[in-house]
């Protein structure tokens, strides 16, 4: 009796779980749709809309096929200047008169009007969301892909994906008190914007029955130069150029141009640039010297590849700024360290990457202006190294004291890489011994824990350092173990790389080639970029060691990432939400939904694009085959 009751309970509970799963997941899913407006009709529609906007065609002349509702928006300097409803029925497409009769549009000079972009969003499906439960509400939209709708008794108000992107509402929730970790919808901001669009104040909002829902669109936009057919849009982005050597080089140069153009007098860069507001960050306290040094390194690297004197000069100015950034105690005859003037403590990373930039500058230009500075920086790095190979990460220059306990991300790998780069210019045994010792610590001693059997930390600088140091180190078993470690890191990363055919790509195909834990978060440029750099180095290691299968896997992994980076660089075509596309061109956004450019994103991404050039075919037709 008892057993039967227990069995009934288990079966009943299992059925309840199954019913919950099926009922909820089906109810909130947007039904999969097919293409509503095929490419030829898109071109015809955009052409007619353009003629409407220019006033050369009456509103009812636009025609098209199929049966759909949507919106046409004219985006001018990052603003939705005018939006009109578009309805297609029985081969006839009716366009809201607002589009043709807009005063704002007519007030624009013809050249400005021509620079505006017409975008069409066709509504393809909708589904309810759980707006009453905040943790679910913030995750209720696929960021940048779904729109948010408000159903009122007498009408609907819609926020298109672009509206949510332009209002910077899609990376607005902070689930944990961790810097830079924002995930999901800014629920309050989104509701406020909906209420504003609906003309409801707080009282009216409470009194009026309402329901929120999400909806999906099929979107396309005219290219910036109006010279090609409309471009498909996904998550505020358009497809990048085909993956060719020329495209990679062009992208790398474009990123360097961003750094050069955003360099101020005195050598500093616009550390961050908010593309939606056309505003650089000017906060002095938020300026990262390691990232500044990384940018200087990349400019020198780019000069080496292009021989462009503009990049050389920009690198020189950035290095001069580093040489001048020396708090008391950091400018000794035997030793130099880099830090904000006046600060009581400096970090290892600033000096390590300054050394890297100085060594790269000398390597690329032959100019030894910074050679004495580099030698003193190297002396500082050596002084910060412990006997076990690890480095101390913080230093109090005025007192000459190392902080033996604090550990910060990246700095040890950066120091190893910088010393290895210098050792190529000045192969002094003490530099080589320091690199060897550091790599031994980073790849073996520091991983002598149970957890390290299952996980790798952020090891990108370490593997770049192993590659850089390879020819300097004795060819023994110890060196092989460094490379084994990096190949292991590569295999570990491949498990988190989104590849063709994976489930999450069904709804978000732009995840392809990026790295991530799940599809809840839109792909971010920084991890793709830095891991691409590290995997390019690991690929070189595998090739040197004759590990053909590993090299093939790494090549596919890197090509997938380079494809992703190429797609996600800011170009004129994908900059319609930005008031000044020229100021953003060449940059990399944190993600498609966090539309800020930061100098280190450009450094990592463009260094990878430049170094990966040889992997890409000289030219290609269409997109490359799926990776893996």
């Amino acid at each position: 009796m008892m057993r039967r009751a227990l069995l009934g309970l288990v079966v009943g509970y299992s059925l309840l779980l199954a019913a919950l799963w099926l009922g909820i997941s089906r109810r909130v899913a947007v039904p999969p749709g097919t293409t509503v407006v095929p490419p030829p009709e898109r071109a015809a529609l955009i052409a007619r809309l353009r003629a409407l906007v220019d006033g050369t065609l009456p509103p009812d002349a636009a025609t098209g096929g199929g049966e759909w509702n949507g919106f046409a928006t004219v985006w001018c300097r990052g603003r939705a200047l005018v939006r009109g409803e578009v309805k297609s029925r029985d081969g006839h497409t009716a366009v809201d008169g607002a589009l043709a009769g807009s005063e704002a549009l007519r007030a624009l000079p013809p050249s400005d009007r021509a620079a505006c972009r017409i975008k069409v969003d066709v509504l393809t499906g909708r589904a309810p969301i759980a707006a009453g439960i905040e943790p679910l509400f913030v995750l209720s939209l696929i960021a940048g892909v779904d729109g948010l709708g408000l159903q009122l008794p007498d009408r609907e108000v819609l926020l298109l994906p672009d509206d949510l992107l332009a209002a910077d509402l899609l990376a607005g929730h902070r689930p944990l008190p961790v810097p830079d970790l924002t995930l999901g919808l800014d629920a309050r901001g989104a509701v406020r914007l909906l209420a504003l669009r609906a003309g409801l104040d707080a009282d009216a909002w409470r009194r009026t029955p309402h329901r929120l829902f999400r909806f999906r669109t099929e979107s396309f936009i005219e290219p910036a130069a109006h010279d090609r057919p409309p471009l498909p849009v996904f998550r505020g982005n358009t497809p990048g150029p085909p993956l060719t050597r020329a495209a990679l080089r062009e992208a790398a140069v474009s990123g360097g141009a961003w750094l050069r153009d955003h360099q101020r007098q005195g050598g500093r860069f616009d550390y961050q640039y908010h593309t939606l507001a056309d505003q650089p960050t000017t906060d002095e306290n938020d300026y990262s010297l390691p990232r500044h040094a990384g940018a200087a390194y990349y400019l020198a690297q780019l000069h080496g590849a292009t021989r462009d004197p503009g990049f050389r000069e920009a690198a020189r100015q950035a290095l001069r700024h580093l040489a001048a950034s020396r708090p008391a105690g950091c400018d000794r005859p035997d030793l130099a360290c880099v830090g904000a003037p006046g600060s009581e403590q400096v970090d290892l990373g600033s000096s390590a990457l300054a050394l890297l930039a100085a060594a790269e500058y000398q390597h690329a230009t032959g100019d030894s202006e910074f050679a004495p500075f580099a030698r003193r920086l190297a002396a500082f790095l050596l002084a910060m190294q412990r006997p076990d190979g690890e480095f101390c990460h913080l230093y109090r220059p005025f007192e000459g004291l190392r902080d033996e306990r604090s550990k910060l991300l990246y700095f040890s790998g950066e120091a190893a890489f910088a010393l290895a780069r210098l050792a190529h210019l000045t192969p002094e045994p003490r530099y080589i011994a320091a690199v060897d010792n550091a790599l031994h610590y980073l790849t073996e001693k520091s991983n002598d824990t149970l957890a390290a059997n299952f996980f790798y930390g952020e090891e990108h600088w370490t593997c770049i350092a192993v590659d850089e140091a390879w020819d300097l180190l004795p060819s023994d078993r110890r060196r092989e173990r460094f490379a084994d470690y990096c190949e292991g890191f590569g295999a570990f990363l491949r498990k988190s790389q989104f590849v063709a055919g994976e489930g999450p790509l069904q709804e978000q195909p732009d995840l392809l080639g990026s790295y991530g834990f799940s599809s809840l978060m839109p792909p971010h440029s920084a991890p793709v970029a830095s891991r691409s750099e590290a995997m390019l180095s690991t690929l070189r290691l595998a090739e040197r060691r004759g590990h053909a299968a590993e090299a093939d896997a790494l090549r596919a992994q890197v090509l997938g990432s380079l494809r992703f980076l190429l797609d996600h660089q800011v170009r004129d075509d994908n900059a319609w939400l930005m008031p000044d596309p020229g100021a953003a061109r060449g940059g990399f956004l944190m993600s498609d939904v966090k539309r800020t450019i930061r100098i280190d994103l450009i450094q990592h991404a463009c260094s990878a694009l430049l170094r990966g050039e040889a992997l890409a075919p000289p030219q290609t037709h269409g997109r490359p085959p799926p990776i893996h």
Binding site: L17, W21, I24, R27, V28, I142, R214, G503, P504, G516
Partner: protein
């Protein structure tokens, strides 16, 4: 193990888990809802009293233990159902969530069962035995 020893072990486990729930719920991940705090306080109190009674071998220990275990088991089933509902919601929104998310969900469910489900299952199995009921009734 003797019945007396088993009852003492469960009494100690009840006390230990009551302390764990109190520490986690009131200190580590403190809720903002007073209703939640009151409910948690009641569960902790019930479990602690049942634990003391079982340790002492008191007759009241059996009904208290059964009540506390039933409550915990119900809580466990509800939490697992909510977890399934939450992941189903995300599956509906995002489509296939990927292996990482699936693995994380299974780990979360396993953790819930381990923290809230195993103790009441074993305790109910013990307390619903006739010989245990007789033992406590005689004591």
């Amino acid at each position: 193990m003797s019945i007396r020893g088993a009852l003492r072990l469960h009494g100690a486990l009840d006390l230990g888990f009551a302390g764990l729930y109190a520490w986690v719920g009131f200190s580590v991940v403190r809720g903002r809802s007073m209703v939640f705090d009151i409910a948690l306080g009641a569960v902790v109190a019930l479990l602690a009293v049942a634990g003391l009674a079982l340790l002492a071998g008191a007759r009241i220990g059996r009904p208290l233990g059964i009540a506390a275990s039933t409550l915990l088991l119900a809580f466990c089933l509800v939490v697992v159902a909510l977890l399934v509902a939450g992941v189903a919601y995300l599956r509906g929104i995002y489509g296939p969530l990927g292996q990482g998310m699936a693995f994380g969900s299974v780990v979360a469910a396993a953790l819930v069962i381990e923290l809230f489900g195993l103790l009441p299952i074993f305790q109910l199995r013990l307390l619903l035995r006739r010989d245990v009921a007789r033992h406590l009734a005689g004591g």
